[in-house]
């Protein structure tokens, strides 16, 4: 096992450096375009940091919901892998085999999408409005 600081903490440290040191310095030196890039870079590392923390909880939950929606008897005992299950659900929706009236679909899509936003774009207005975040 590796020692602390752990990956999400290393990312947090770099995010702080970019936001608190690099960005203001670049702005002071009139490097507006580079300052903007530093902001984007910090946001990207923040996504990675949140994903590292959330994935161990989000992914098994998503997989269990998918298995219930589109799992088959041929799947291995622990269930099919997440990417394969998502492909299967996408194809089933496209073909009309699964739709808005399928029990569990709305709940699954909402839970999955909210979990995505919590990692990708927690500041997005629709997400904040719907979760009260």
């Amino acid at each position: 096992m590796q020692d602390a600081p752990h990956p999400h903490q290393l990312l947090e440290a770099v995010v702080r450096y970019l936001r608190d040191d690099a960005l203001p310095a670049l702005t002071r030196h009139g490097e507006g375009a580079l300052a903007y890039q530093a902001r984007v870079a910090a946001n990207m590392l923040d996504i990675a940091r949140r994903e590292l923390l959330a994935a161990p909880v989000d992914e098994p939950a998503e997989r269990a919901r998918l298995q219930a929606l589109v799992g088959t008897a041929d799947d291995p005992p622990g269930g099919a892998d997440l990417a394969a299950l998502n492909r299967r659900l996408a194809e089933a929706i496209a073909a009309g085999r699964v739709g808005t009236d399928t029990p569990g679909l709305a709940e699954h899509l909402w839970a999955t999408t909210l979990a995505k936003l919590a990692v990708d774009q927690p500041g997005y207005e629709t997400y904040r409005r719907l979760t009260g975040a």
Binding site: Q37, V40, A41, N43, M44, I47, R50, L53, A54, P56, V57, D58, A61, E62, A83, N86, R87, L89, A90, E91, I93, A94, G96, G99, T100, A106, L109, W110, A111, T112, T113, L114, A115, K116, L117, A118, V119, D120, Q121, P122, Y124, E125, T126, Y127, R129, L130, T131
Partner: protein, 338 residues
């Protein structure tokens, strides 16, 4: 570079008349195939005029096929301006002998285009004037327009389906939207000129005017011929409300204001079609975000920000669910500590 451009622009603007001086040349934006420059032209009488050059530099004239092209854009701007649509006035067209590539010079309007600022308040007059401008655009005679891509609702769904499939990522929410769009596609309609990117961010606005005012409709490169309601739906997409989702029209206005302006300028709004196009537009922006991420993943565009935008496709997934499977109160999301 700027000196060559200034000399060329001076030749374009002087023509056979008295010499015009060109200065303050500054690149505003653009990729490899299309550039936008700001500059000032000083006539013999000393009056300075702020102008914009839109051009494809020599050698890049025919890239970006499928879009209108700069000559087409200039022709549409002239027609739209003559029909009472607020647009920058086209001052001169580039010709091969100028050696500046393809493009045109237009008036530089003064106002606000930043979406967040435009959406910062309720601007009923701006929404009304957007309706008026759209009705006038949609009434332009098609036989006078340059050659344009033609499309209809169902064809746009299939176009998006293919574009999304080409990226190879499975997105159940996008498939749900594609299914809904196909199941609810309106019938083909009498074709009209569609601006194609009429949204907050492409509108030059006067925010000091009471209720806001529309000064210029910009960015015509996605103009095409199709269902005019596409423009109204795109303007209402949540992506262009800049956090002000309570005001559906670009974050600054309401449907009633937009539709009133549209009606008063001779148009007939069709709210059901507008809503359908709003769903399509939300999916469209999602597929565009996804394609930018894909451009990074494939190595085609190794630009950091493209990778970041790829992770914004989920914003459109939540907006699509909000449109198609709305839920009043959502539970806290699954997941661990943030």
């Amino acid at each position: 570079m700027n000196d060559t451009l200034a000399a060329g622009l001076a030749a374009v603007l002087s023509g056979d008349g008295p010499a015009v001086q060109v200065g303050a040349v500054k690149r505003l934006s653009g990729g490899a195939s299309q550039e936008t420059w700001a500059f000032e032209a000083r006539a013999a009488d000393g009056a300075a005029r702020p102008l914009i050059l839109r051009r494809a530099p020599p050698g890049a004239e025919h890239r970006g096929s499928g879009n209108v092209g700069l000559d087409g854009e200039a022709a549409i701007l002239r027609l739209a301006g003559a029909a009472g649509v607020p647009v920058p006035e086209v001052v001169a067209g580039l010709r091969p002998e100028h050696g500046l590539g393809q493009g045109f010079v237009m008036n530089r309007l003064a106002g606000e285009t930043l979406g967040r600022r435009v959406a910062a308040a309720h601007r009923p007059q701006l929404a009304y004037q957007c309706g008026q401008a759209l009705a006038r655009i949609h009434a332009l005679p098609l036989d006078r327009l340059p050659p344009l891509r033609r499309t209809q609702p169902r064809a746009e769904v299939e176009h998006l389906r293919a574009q999304h499939a080409g990226m190879g990522a499975a997105r159940p929410v996008f498939q749900l939207a594609l299914r809904w769009l196909a199941d609810h596609a309106p019938a083909d309609t009498a074709p009209a000129l569609v601006h194609g990117d009429f949204r907050n961010g492409n509108l030059m606005c006067d925010l000091d005017a009471a209720g806001g005012a529309l000064i210029g409709v910009l960015d015509w490169e996605l103009a095409h011929v199709g269902d005019p309601m596409a423009d109204l739906g795109w303007l209402c997409c949540n992506s262009w409300r800049f956090g002000q989702s309570q005001r559906p029209v670009g974050g600054f206005g309401f449907d009633t204001e937009l539709f009133a302006g549209y009606r008063d300028a001779g148009g007939t709004p069709d709210p059901a079609r507008v809503r359908w196009w709003q769903v399509l537009g939300t999916l469209r922006w999602g597929v565009i975000c996804e394609s930018m991420g894909h451009a990074w993943l494939s190595g085609a565009e190794p630009v950091m920000e493209k990778a970041a935008i790829g992770r914004r496709a989920s914003e459109n997934e939540i907006d699509l669910l909000d449109l198609l499977l709305p839920r009043a109160a959502a539970a806290q999301p699954a997941g661990g500590p943030r």
